[in-house]
């Protein structure tokens, strides 16, 4: 039996039992954060990794979803309607973003998404009569699916875990589906794909929509987690942070964004308790990743691992390219 299913089973069991062996609400909350940021990073990875389109505007989509949810919840609609409205708002915003930014690729795509992100942030920040500016909007309650309260950290963690597992499964299926393979084709050889009869623009558009859906889902989890939304969430820095999760973990791999999310969230919320200069540490980690393993942590360590196996002289048949789809 290859080591991969065993490793997956071990990780799954560890995640499923996490509230039992990780004591303290604080750490369970950190785990929830890692999971919903991982969903966000998985969404961005569809574009940045598999489509070769780097977006610096995803925090705006995340934010639009969050604001939509906060509004509808505040207006007195129930949570199911609020969640639905938020997801629809996120998807509509993504469609607009995609139509505008898919006119370009490469740096052009980065710049258009950045401009869109800044416009949305500017509105959230300055249009105080609508968004309440820096004071933000509160969401007072969490939903109660089937009568279970999501207020305790462990309950929220399990909800996030379920959504996370579904998201990972969806992304895995997408990447292995004909559409996913075609998407990677448009990343590597857009002109050849076009000549082969694929509609490059449409493939990219649907990839954007899937990315937007995952972003919106993580946005919903985020609002219910913090129960608050303010323009800070939409800043360019937030977009950059998620992009850093994707790139540092390994763009275009399934595992990469999850590892990247864990890295950034742990440095931000746990290590920052011990080291005052954690921002500097995070920056140094990114620079080190670029120098040591430019392809990201997951493919990079897989490469180093294979190299080590070969050095020892053992057959590397059992070691597959971890993280590769």
């Amino acid at each position: 039996m290859s080591p991969r299913p065993i490793a997956l089973a071990v990780v799954f069991v560890a995640l499923a039992t996490l509230p039992f062996w990780l004591t303290g609400d604080y750490y369970i909350n950190v785990a929830s954060q890692i999971l919903f940021y991982a969903i966000f990073a998985l969404g961005l990875n569809i574009l940045a990794g598999y489509a070769g389109l780097v977006s610096l505007g995803h925090a705006a989509l995340f934010g639009i979803t969050a604001y939509a949810l906060a509004y509808t919840a505040q207006a007195g609609f129930g949570h199911p309607i609020a969640i639905l409205a938020a997801l629809v708002a996120g998807l509509i915003a993504m469609a607009v973003f995609a139509v505008l930014s898919l006119r370009a690729t490469g740096i052009g795509f980065i710049m258009i998404t950045l401009a869109l992100g800044e416009i949305v942030w500017g509105l959230a920040y300055r249009w105080i009569s609508v968004t309440n500016g820096d004071n933000g909007i509160n969401v007072h309650t969490r939903p109660m699916p089937f009568g279970f309260s999501l207020e305790p950290p462990a309950a929220f963690y399990y909800t996030t875990l379920i959504v996370f597992v579904i998201s990972v499964a969806a992304v895995t299926m997408f990447v292995r589906s004909p559409l996913g393979v075609a998407l990677m084709g448009t990343r590597d050889q857009p002109r050849r794909m076009n000549a082969l009869g694929f509609h490059v623009w449409a493939i990219r558009f649907w990839a954007c929509m899937l990315s937007g859906l995952l972003t919106a889902v993580s946005g919903v989890l985020f609002v219910y987690y913090t129960q608050f939304i303010s323009p800070q969430t939409l800043e360019l820095t937030s977009s950059a942070e998620v992009l850093l999760m994707v790139i540092s973990g390994g763009a275009g791999t399934l595992l990469g964004p999850i590892v990247g999310s864990a890295l950034v969230v742990i440095v931000k919320s746990v290590v920052s308790g011990y080291i005052e200069r954690w921002n500097m540490l995070l920056g140094a980690i990114f620079v080190a990743i670029v120098i040591l393993m430019p392809e990201g942590i997951v493919p990079g360590s897989a490469r180093l691992w294979r190299l080590a196996w070969r050095k020892i002289g053992t057959s590397d048949k059992t070691v597959t390219a971890e993280g590769e789809p």
């Binding site: 940045a48 052009g108 980065i110 710049m111 800044e118 416009i119 509105l123 920056g283 140094a284 120098i291």
Partner: protein, 290 residues
């Protein structure tokens, strides 16, 4: 009437500052094709260095202009090192360039916070320029007018450098067609270092010049970077004329937007950038589509 005139002068002053920040950014973007997300950090680093030199350090206080040039030289050296040691290793790898420039900007921001603390530092404008100019019923602060003059001098200097010297011709060749420039024997990678250092130096100089107007505070890097980006996208990367026109347009939009449409100020600021990207991706005066 006075209100409009003052707003106009402020717009031109802010546009002049933006020109100083974005001229280097535009050259770096145009020649090296990299999104240099450290540019705001270089501006901030220059501003903090300048504030330290003017405010006194180890018992020495520097003249404002000496401080500005010294800060520019120091940051230019940092920029050259950054290009040589890091960016040089990553030609054409956009994701890695984004990661490394953002990483450096995190480090610089935290470094500044560690050394200079979180409180804003105000810098006195040079004594010779503290007064006002009276023209009939209107009053203009001397320093703001001086900033405009400085920007014009730098613009002319850059134009002479790019248009009248051998180095400038090589840079222009590199912007237009890096591969062909290499074929005819121009060492484009050496130009990269020079242009990066030059761009970093001008940004730092702008940081010191802007300090008496903006004050220096943590977060000014993230304030300046998007503005410089808007200017460069609007004007077209690698074009000096584009930087001049772009900065003036954005200077006006920013100041008039803040005064007339405070709620939509950022919306009207970034909208032109979006329209240009969609309808004229090379920018108003750009030579190539990034």
């Amino acid at each position: 009437m006075n209100f409009w005139l003052l707003l106009t002068v402020n717009s031109i002053t802010f546009g002049s500052l933006l020109f100083l920040v974005s001229a280097g950014f535009s050259l770096i973007f145009g020649l090296m094709r990299i999104p240099n997300l450290t540019h705001g950090s270089l501006f901030m680093l220059g501003a903090y260095f300048g504030a330290t030199f003017v405010g006194g350090m180890l018992g020495l206080t520097f003249n404002f202009w000496v401080a500005a040039l010294l800060a520019a030289a120091m940051v230019a050296a940092c920029g050259a090192a950054l290009e040589r040691l890091l960016l040089r290793q990553l030609p054409g790898q956009q994701l890695a360039q984004v990661l490394v420039t953002l990483g450096i900007s995190f480090i610089v921001a935290d470094f500044c916070l560690m050394v200079w603390g979180g409180d804003p530092i105000s810098v006195a404008s040079p004594e010779a320029l503290t007064g006002f100019v009276r023209a009939g019923p209107f009053v203009f602060p001397n320093y703001r007018l001086a900033v405009i003059v400085i920007a014009i001098v730098v613009a002319i200097g850059l134009w002479l450098l790019l248009d009248r010297t051998r180095l400038g011709a090589m840079i222009r060749a590199g912007v237009d067609d890096p591969d062909m420039a290499r074929v005819v024997g121009i060492r484009v990678s050496q130009l990269f270092t020079i242009v990066f250092a030059l761009g970093a130096g001008i940004a730092a100089f702008a940081g010191v010049i802007g300090a008496p107007i903006l004050t220096v505070y943590p977060g000014i890097d993230q304030y300046m970077l998007p503005l410089a980006l808007v200017v460069v996208i609007l004007g077209g990367s690698g074009s000096l004329l584009g930087s001049v026109v772009g900065s003036l347009v954005i200077g006006f939009i920013y100041n008039f937007g803040q005064a007339l449409l405070p709620e939509l100020a950022y919306f009207v600021l970034f909208l032109p950038m979006l329209l240009v990207l969609i309808f004229r991706p090379q920018g108003l005066f750009g030579r190539f589509i990034p």
